[in-house]
């Protein structure tokens, strides 16, 4: 069922509650609230119109271009968010996010859903968005963890080197910790799914008129896609970063801000 524009306006009236509370507490968040909601409305309106256009056109070239835009957007957002500043980061992030989605998306489209046409915008864009968004967040966490763990444990790293460890052997404990820190919360979320919370996509599908049974199948598929993509992206990002982080004698290269 569609929501009328008046209906939407009434929904926004709910914001009077937080505004009243802010006033009562003399909390200076009203300005931020108006900025945040205005931005959201404008951004979503633009993206909604644009997505509707993409879905209506449903042209493969257009969809693929949009996929490339989404990927670049994710890479630059991720790079901006990382505290690690290195020139070599950009190709690494492109490779990590790109490769993981290049593997996961074809499988989902060509083997699992098999829509007509295969690169139907209706399937590609929302699923790719979820996969990419999660990969991006997870990569940020994994890389930050790797770097901070490394800086906290130089002595361990140098000791391993001085005992004859290869670069891989000396960095592996840190690598392992970073991946663990990034993936464990996701596994816990997956384990609580359906009991604690109903995932957003599933809720949306049910509201949009799909049967709950179809919605859970999509949810299961999407979780498998997201978790595989995230693991692959984390692994590739750190693996590639590792190769550029050290010189040929396995000693750290300078250049961190």
């Amino acid at each position: 069922m569609d929501i009328s524009y008046y209906g939407l306006l009434y929904a926004l009236l709910l914001l009077l509650i937080p505004i009243a509370i802010f006033i009562q507490l003399r909390l200076k968040l009203i300005k931020q609230l108006s900025i945040s909601f205005s931005r959201m409305i404008v951004q979503l309106a633009i993206i909604g119109l644009w997505l509707q256009f993409l879905l209506d056109q449903d042209q493969i070239a257009l969809t693929l271009i949009w996929v490339a835009v989404m990927l670049s957007n994710a890479v630059f957002t991720l790079r901006g968010r990382l505290k690690i500043k290195r020139k070599i980061l950009l190709p690494i992030l492109f490779a990590a996010l790109g490769a993981s989605t290049l593997v996961i998306m074809p499988w989902i489209l060509f083997v699992v859903i098999r829509p007509e046409p295969l690169l139907s915008a209706k399937f590609v864009i929302p699923i790719y968005g979820m996969v990419l968004g999660n990969s991006m967040n997870s990569c940020a966490l994994a890389l930050e963890r790797f770097e901070s763990n490394l800086s906290d444990n130089w002595k361990a790293y140098y000791t391993r080197l001085s005992l004859g460890a290869s670069l891989w052997e000396a960095a592996l404990p840190t690598f392992r910790k970073a991946i663990h820190a990034s993936l464990l919360p996701q596994l816990l979320t997956i384990a609580s799914m359906g009991v604690v919370s109903l995932p957003g996509m599933m809720t949306g599908q049910i509201l949009g008129g799909s049967s709950a049974l179809v919605a859970i199948k999509y949810q299961m598929m999407v979780m498998a896609a997201i978790f595989s993509a995230v693991t692959l992206a984390d692994f590739l990002a750190i693996r590639l970063y590792l190769a550029r982080r050290f010189d040929k004698y396995y000693l750290p290269l300078a250049g961190i801000k």
């Binding site: 002595k155 080197l161 001085s162 290869s166 052997e169 040929k248």
Partner: protein, 221 residues
Amino acid sequence: MSDFLHIKISRLFYQDKHLVSDIDLEVQKGERILIVGATGTGKSSLLNTLNLMNQNYNGEILFESKAITQYHPHVLRSRIVMVMQEPWLGEGTVQDVLDEALAYHAIKHKDLSDRDRQIRGLMKSFQLSEDYLSKKADQLSGGEKQRIALIRVLQLRPEILLLDEISSALDQKTSGIISDCIFQNFPGTVIAISHDPLWHDRWQRSWIISDGIIKDNREAK
């Protein structure tokens, strides 16, 4: 004519600072060498060049007539092994600590058939009972940690042992035990930095660094 280890360094640096010039030293197999000099003269910087931990110099170091930079770093570092001032042992038991070092790639091909006997022998000569193998490494005292760090290295049977002030944080007695043990148990080459006077009278040779030059003193006791 030594082709074991030949250090030819025209200029040695620490970061941008020029420390020592014109180093040309040959080391024979089995020699025991002590590096002496005031703080900041470049003792550690020099020692660290030998296992590829420091590339901040002009010159060349030959190990068995081949430039050390031509070796795979992990292979070289399993033949020329360094023990540091404050040992890092990691988590787990002493046995885990010893096993971890042995698991590294470059050591794997070595003959380990009598390893347990070797470890027991080393523990005994370092005056540690075998019970220590099951103790948590992070609960040991400083002196015990340093002895385990040495056993960890000696079990690898390196050809050259580099010791960077390993007894500076230890009491005289422990320092004495450690130096006795190294001399008794390790037949290979040792190059050590130490400020401990106890150590100074048992080396065949010393390298004295002062005013940016290194003096090779073979008359050491």
